[in-house]
């Protein structure tokens, strides 16, 4: 019976799932090209300019990520992101709004439609007039999440792998820059102030640990899905459930960002799922935890919690709440 339900639910989501996976796959592949362009052309260019003026890399970091540019850090994450390092830039993809919004939206809409959608469409009576325990329906949705969320994650990984294969090695080639500067020097008769490095510079790039970071993304998706499922279990209108769930997610996102920008508001961050979404730490530093002291003790160490445990725990709690509510409530008649 559960398998019958799962197959039916998978059939219902197959086209939206395919669309989401294709978009993420293509975006991930495209992001590799962007990463190559930034790290092998744009970043070296600005660093050389800065070098010529005596401006070090740390000044760029200070302006872009701290002080007036702190919002960039809040949105893109990672106090230690180095834009001249390919792996760092690749990791930024998992915090890009396209990925975060698409995955969150997918999780919200699928789960919010799960129970309130069936009631709204009027098909819940048809379903529950069969000998299907209500809890079994919630379980079927949980199984579907366990199948589709990895599919979404694999799209990201697959897209990155395709991108890496397509763009080839990340090599900084100084020859075009040298030619342009030489031409300018001859036309304007200004001396070359800096000596460019000779030969292409090979940059290390590896997506080996991307899978772990995508696990963090899967945790975020599951947490959002669980919360949405709990909302769905209480409602009778698909759109209202979707609206409420989306609002909760947006509020959490905004609260997390504001908490990063404004220290007085930092205490709310651990109450949001986005506080536990740290794909860059996982990918770049193999760190699976966050310190609550970052939000509650002004950055001093307080207590470290595992990000996956919290995210999957939130998702599981959401499903549990959904199960408890749905198995006990009266089913409203179709409108």
């Amino acid at each position: 019976m559960t398998l019958v339900l799962v197959r039916k639910l998978l059939r219902d989501v197959r086209w939206p799932l395919l669309a989401v996976c294709v978009i993420l796959f293509l975006f991930s592949a495209f992001w590799v090209k962007i990463a190559q362009r930034v790290t092998t052309e744009i970043a070296p260019f600005f660093l050389l300019i800065g070098q010529a003026q005596g401006i070090g890399k740390e000044v760029f970091d200070e302006v872009v990520f701290k002080g007036p540019g702190k919002v960039s850090q809040a949105v893109m994450g990672g106090a230690d992101v180095q834009f001249d390092r390919p792996n760092d830039f690749l990791a930024v993809e998992l915090l890009h709004p396209v990925v975060v919004i698409l995955v969150s939206l997918w999780a919200v809409s699928r789960a919010a439609s799960a129970i309130s959608g069936e009631i709204d469409r009027g098909t819940m009576e048809l379903l529950l007039s069969q000998p299907v325990p209500r809890g079994r329906l919630v379980l079927a949705h949980l199984i579907v999440d366990a199948l589709v969320i990895p599919a979404v994650g694999l799209s990201v990984v697959g897209g990155t792998q395709l991108g890496l294969w397509a763009v080839g090695p990340f090599e900084v080639n100084y020859e075009p820059l040298e030619r342009a500067m030489e031409k300018q020097r001859q036309e304007r008769r200004i001396p070359m102030l800096i000596k460019l490095p000779t030969g292409p510079k090979h940059l290390d790039v590896s997506a080996e640990r991307q899978g772990w970071a995508v696990l963090n993304l899967a945790g975020l998706a599951f947490a959002v899905s669980g919360l949405s499922m709990a909302v769905s279990a209480t409602g009778r209108s698909r759109w209202r459930a979707l609206g409420v769930a989306a609002l909760v997610v947006v509020v959490m996102f905004v609260a997390n960002v504001i908490g990063q920008l404004w220290e007085d508001a930092a205490f709310v961050r651990p109450a949001t799922v986005f506080f536990y979404y740290q794909p860059q730490r996982v990918w770049l530093d193999a760190v699976w935890t966050v310190d609550l002291g970052d939000a509650w003790a002004g950055g001093k160490p307080l207590a470290r919690v595992n990000v996956l445990a919290v995210l999957f725990g939130v998702g599981a709690a959401g499903y549990l709440v959904a199960w408890r509510i749905f198995t006990r409530r009266d089913l409203p008649a179709p409108l």
């Binding site: 019976m1 048809l126 007039s129 089913l331």
Partner: protein, 289 residues
């Protein structure tokens, strides 16, 4: 022993009492109709039996299983046709029947095609391409295929054309003859008269009258113009009911052997004699005028 039994079944929505102390039973091989206008509690009663809602008071059982606490066991024994019909539009009729059958642990076989032919539907047509009447036939197909002891239908003839309405009523008779218990709600008196063994009339959530249809069918309604003196007693020798004779006209209901009635009428001097069967209309109007 009853397949379905309700005992003081009650449901409140806030301060509004939708169903008030319903006591009803349906035996195997019996068709029971729930009759009443919109808002009389028919659908509430059916949905309580199916475990869609928890009763405020009382209980309902199917095959001895409590409809709320053991809802899965109840639904294993029930096939239900909802009044507000909504199907999975991304399926064909056959896929829907197969899906619902598999949820019961059954794999529908060739009986689907036989029944589909009888109901005049193409089961391989997508549901999105079907009219509301055809969808109702698909839903009917889905509930007639499972072998269950109780069939519940909520206003089943909505949107059906007259031919299919007759076919549906025939299917209910066949279900009864096969030993199934059938409970259906309606506000169409003719349908209820045509197929039910008993009729429960609901008014504002209360069961106000339970009518045995066999008794009703055996009864006669007699009207005539008296040309001679009025009779002292009725066909069975007992006094006629009050109001049976007014302004020289005879008007009364009779329940008894037809031969006695005819013999009695033959001894009177009458004109414009009419003998008709008793219908639900008068009874229904008594509670819903």
């Amino acid at each position: 022993m009853s397949v379905l039994a309700t005992e003081e079944l009650t449901k409140d929505y806030g301060r509004f009492r939708a169903l008030d102390g319903l006591n009803l039973s349906v035996a195997p091989g019996e068709v029971v109709g729930l009759l009443g206008p919109n808002g009389s509690g028919k659908t509430t009663a059916l949905r309580l039996v199916l475990g869609f809602m928890r009763p405020t008071a009382g209980r309902a059982t199917v095959g001895g299983f409590d409809c709320w606490g053991q809802s899965v066991e109840v639904r294993r024994r029930v096939a239900y046709l909802p009044g507000e019909l909504r199907l999975y539009e991304n399926m064909t009729g056959r896929q829907l029947v197969r899906f619902l059958g598999r949820l019961r642990g059954d794999e529908p076989g060739p009986e689907v095609d036989a029944l589909a032919k009888r109901l005049d539907i193409d089961p391989d047509r997508p549901l999105t391409h079907m009219s509301s009447g055809m969808k109702r036939k698909v839903a009917l197909l889905a509930i007639l295929v499972p072998k269950v002891p109780l069939v519940i239908l909520d206003e089943p003839t909505n949107t059906l054309d007259p031919t299919m309405r007759d076919e549906l009523l025939e299917q209910l008779r066949l279900a009864r003859d096969a030993g199934k218990a059938v409970l259906f709600s309606s506000h169409v008196l003719q349908e209820v008269e045509a197929v039910c063994d008993r009729v429960a009339i609901l008014r504002r959530g209360r069961l106000v009258h339970l009518q045995d249809m066999e008794e009703l069918r055996e009864g006669r309604h007699v009207t005539a113009k008296l040309l001679g003196p009025p009779p002292a007693n009725g066909p069975d020798g007992s006094p006629l009911p009050p109001g049976a004779i007014e302004d020289g006209r005879l008007d009364f209901d009779y329940r008894g052997p037809l031969s006695d009635l005819l013999g009695w009428l033959a001894r009177l001097s009458l004109d414009e004699l009419k003998i008709g069967s008793l219908g639900l209309t008068a009874i229904y109007r008594k509670y819903h005028s």
